[in-house]
């Protein structure tokens, strides 16, 4: 008795595919008749590829028939397979995603086979050729076949491309759904997502204007829509492969407790943002440079020109502030930690404030030199990447390259040292790092036009524009004196604070 039922069910399961085949067949007949009548009206020859490709590119059968079935298969597989018994045997969620994809294709491939088979089956009785037919080259059919014909030289290639596209797009769809479920683990939201995808594909091909068509899932299911939305099919492929890569990267993260990552990311975040900002400035300057006459050293000069009393532009002023005051700010963060948290324990160990001071200050100095070298290298490399001249001339300033580098590195180093020492004094004196902000703001004011006219206030002196008026060695002297004075002040403060 139950065996009969079993058999019946088996038949039903097989029958399901047959029903799908029959539906596709009858719909295909309609399409075929349409082609026949169109072609015979104008007396044009057709061949088997017309019928086959026309069916595969029919958006209605894709959206209202294939996509729902694919979504159904995908959803049932995801929901039935995601359970702890399977997971614990697989060992990682990553393996689960791939296993789910395999299981998905073991069913979906039948669907695709039926579709492809039907698209060939319908061509019985239609002449075969390796070339595009008269009909597909003519204007009437410009709608679907003509467009494809313009891009692909042979119909066979178009057919393969269509097949590949479908496989890729459907795989991505399933990977997306499985990742979505793994992430939220909520059945209802998952089903809503499936509904959204279906509606999105229905609405997508009807409503989205051509510029936004790449947002609609349907764009990726048929060659015709694909070609319509991307003037160049390769771009569309890049989009798909890009999605693939993003999903793959996400899969790599699936099995990791993200807390570890967040924590380490969080501690590097300020420095990361800072570096990105530094790079942004260099990149934007390199891009706006003129490759026909500017050199890679010009990028360095233009980026770090900064500002002084005579020449001031908001962009270089802001960029100078970001790079150098940004660095000062970050170091201030570290200094404040040194002073407020670990400082006292360490001070007791060192017994001597000056020793304690040098124990960490030394490291900052090294970091500053390293950082300046890095900046210089970045600007040269980025300049080279955007195709500027790779010689050591400087066209935007009448100065030798070694003067530029001397000023950039040595005076840059001295200038930053001065900033750090000043910020340290404030933080030390006030026992509160936030006052460093006031100091930085005052520094910024001192760089405004007309303020530091003699170039003796040791602020912003490492701006490369200073080379227009002052000798770099004079600037070195000013900065050295300033640093010595402020260091003496620190020494004085240290001895004073020991007396208390």
């Amino acid at each position: 008795m139950s065996n009969v039922a079993e058999h019946l069910k088996d038949i039903l399961i097989k029958f399901r595919w047959i029903v799908i085949g029959i539906v596709i067949y009858f719909y295909g007949i309609l399409l075929k008749n349409e082609i026949f009548s169109n072609a015979s009206k104008d007396g044009l020859m057709i061949n088997s590829w017309d019928v086959s490709l026309y069916l595969l590119n029919d958006i209605y059968i894709i959206v209202y028939f294939i996509v729902p079935i694919v979504l159904f298969i995908s959803a049932t597989i995801v929901l039935s397979d995601f359970n702890y018994m399977t997971l614990i045997r697989l060992g990682t969620t990553k393996k689960w995603v791939f296993r789910s994809l395999r299981r998905f294709w073991s069913k979906t491939s039948i669907l695709l086979l039926i579709l492809v088979f039907m698209s060939f089956y319908l061509t019985i009785g239609v002449p075969f050729s390796w070339d595009w037919s008269q009909y597909s080259k003519s204007n009437i059919s410009h709608d679907t076949l003509g467009e494809i014909g313009l891009v692909f030289t042979a119909p066979f290639v178009a057919f393969l491309f269509q097949l590949g596209l479908l496989v890729l797009a459907i795989s991505i769809l399933h990977i997306f759904l499985s990742l979505f479920y793994v992430t939220i683990k909520k059945r209802n939201i998952f089903l809503i997502m499936c509904a959204i995808l279906f509606l999105g594909s229905v609405v997508g091909f009807k409503l989205f204007p051509e510029e936004y068509a790449f947002l609609s899932p349907t764009t990726y299911f048929t060659l015709k829509n694909f070609i319509d939305s991307f003037n160049y099919p390769l771009i569309g492929l890049v989009v798909l492969i890009g999605l693939f890569i993003i999903f793959y990267l996400y899969i790599l993260l699936l099995d990791i407790n993200k807390r570890h990552y967040f924590q380490s990311i969080k501690s590097y975040l300020p420095h990361g943002i800072y570096l990105i900002l530094c790079l942004t400035g260099i990149v934007s300057i390199s891009i706006s440079a003129d490759p026909s006459k500017d050199t890679i050293l010009d990028v360095l000069v233009l980026s770090f020109q900064g500002s002084n009393s005579e020449s001031f532009s908001y962009f270089s002023f802001f960029y100078y502030s970001i790079v150098f005051f940004g660095l000062t700010y970050l170091i201030n963060l570290d200094i404040s930690r040194e002073i407020e948290q670990i400082g006292y324990y360490k001070i007791i160990r060192y017994r001597n404030l000056e020793k304690w001071f040098w124990s960490w200050f030394r490291k900052f100095l090294l970091k500053v030199i390293f950082f300046l070298l890095l900046l210089g290298m970045f600007s040269i490399i980025i300049g080279a990447i955007v195709g500027l001249k790779t010689n050591f001339d400087v066209t935007v300033l009448y100065v030798d390259w070694y003067t530029i580098l001397y000023h950039f590195i040595i005076n840059g180093f001295l200038q930053i040292t001065f900033y750090i020492l000043s910020v340290f004094i404030i933080s030390w004196g006030k026992r509160e790092a936030s006052y460093g902000l006031i100091l930085i703001s005052i520094f910024m004011v001192l760089m405004l036009p007309g303020i530091n006219q003699q170039g003796v206030i040791p602020v912003g002196l490492n701006s490369l524009v200073n080379l227009l008026e002052h000798s770099p060695y004079r600037i070195t002297l000013v900065l050295l004196i300033a640093n010595i004075m402020i260091y003496l002040l620190i020494k004085y403060l240290f001895t004073k604070s020991f007396k208390n």
């Binding site: 139950s2 065996n3 079993e6 039935s80 359970n83 702890y84 018994m85 399977t86 997971l87 614990i88 045997r89 697989l90 060992g91 990682t92 969620t93 990553k94 296993r99 699936l254 099995d255 990791i256 407790n257 993200k258 807390r259 570890h260």
Partner: protein, 219 residues
């Protein structure tokens, strides 16, 4: 030998603090019991041990490998957590076979043997959707033990079992212990807890060791 080590683990759900800096070492070849009122976090603890959810802080390592860093799900664990979901349209045997195929290290014969051990009919063509609660529970036990897993993490394994089956399963677990396997289980029944070497109570987000009532085999 420590198999599972829980270090400074905390876990809370939206302000509902379940665990706060708990520490525990699970040694090989022992049976551990976990008790606590409904909603105290027993299942959550087991899920963390198996890598199904991550702790908010602290770390859980299996054989020295940290979950969520060195690996995701522990190897060779037999697990019952929550009510298991089965492919409703398949028989119990088919369901188990499907799971066995994933690792492919046991034969059909061993699946059948395991089913008979807990008192399920492997030959029956009854679909799991028609299974009774106790039968489903037995199926869950089967999948947890059929591959001779080294560590068994069993959340309420005796749920819905009849008296005979409870006894059968208890004996089975004791036998596994003799074979050197490690077992973690929860139960609301004091009798089940008696087979444990160590029992922990979840109390105010901490684990408290409460010695077993009879037969203090560990000390």
């Amino acid at each position: 030998m420590t198999i599972i080590s829980i270090k400074d683990v905390s876990k809370s759900f939206k302000g509902n603090v379940l665990f706060e800096n708990i520490n525990l070492d699970i040694r090989k070849g022992q049976i551990y019991g976990f008790v606590g009122p409904n909603g105290s976090g027993k299942s959550v603890l087991f899920k963390m041990i198996c890598g199904f959810i991550f702790p908010d802080s602290g770390e859980i390592s299996i054989d020295g490998l940290e979950i969520g860093k060195d690996k995701r799900f522990p190897e060779n664990f037999g697990v019952i957590i929550d009510r298991p979901g089965y492919i409703a349209s398949k028989t119990g045997f088919e369901n188990l076979k499907e799971l066995a195929m994933i690792r492919g290290n046991i034969s059909d014969k061993e699946v059948v043997e395991t089913m008979e051990m807990v008192g399920l009919d492997a030959q029956s063509s009854q679909k799991t959707k028609n299974y009774s609660l106790g039968m489903k529970q037995k199926l869950a036990i089967c999948q947890a033990i059929m591959e001779k897993q080294e560590v068994l993490v069993l959340d309420e394994p005796f749920n819905a079992l009849d008296v005979d089956s409870v006894k059968k399963v208890r004996d089975l677990l004791l036998r596994f212990k003799e074979e050197g396997r490690t077992i973690l289980l929860t139960s609301h029944n004091q009798d089940d807890i008696k087979i444990c070497d160590e029992v922990y109570r979840i109390n105010r987000s901490k684990l408290e060791l409460t010695l077993p009532l009879i037969g203090d085999s560990h000390s």
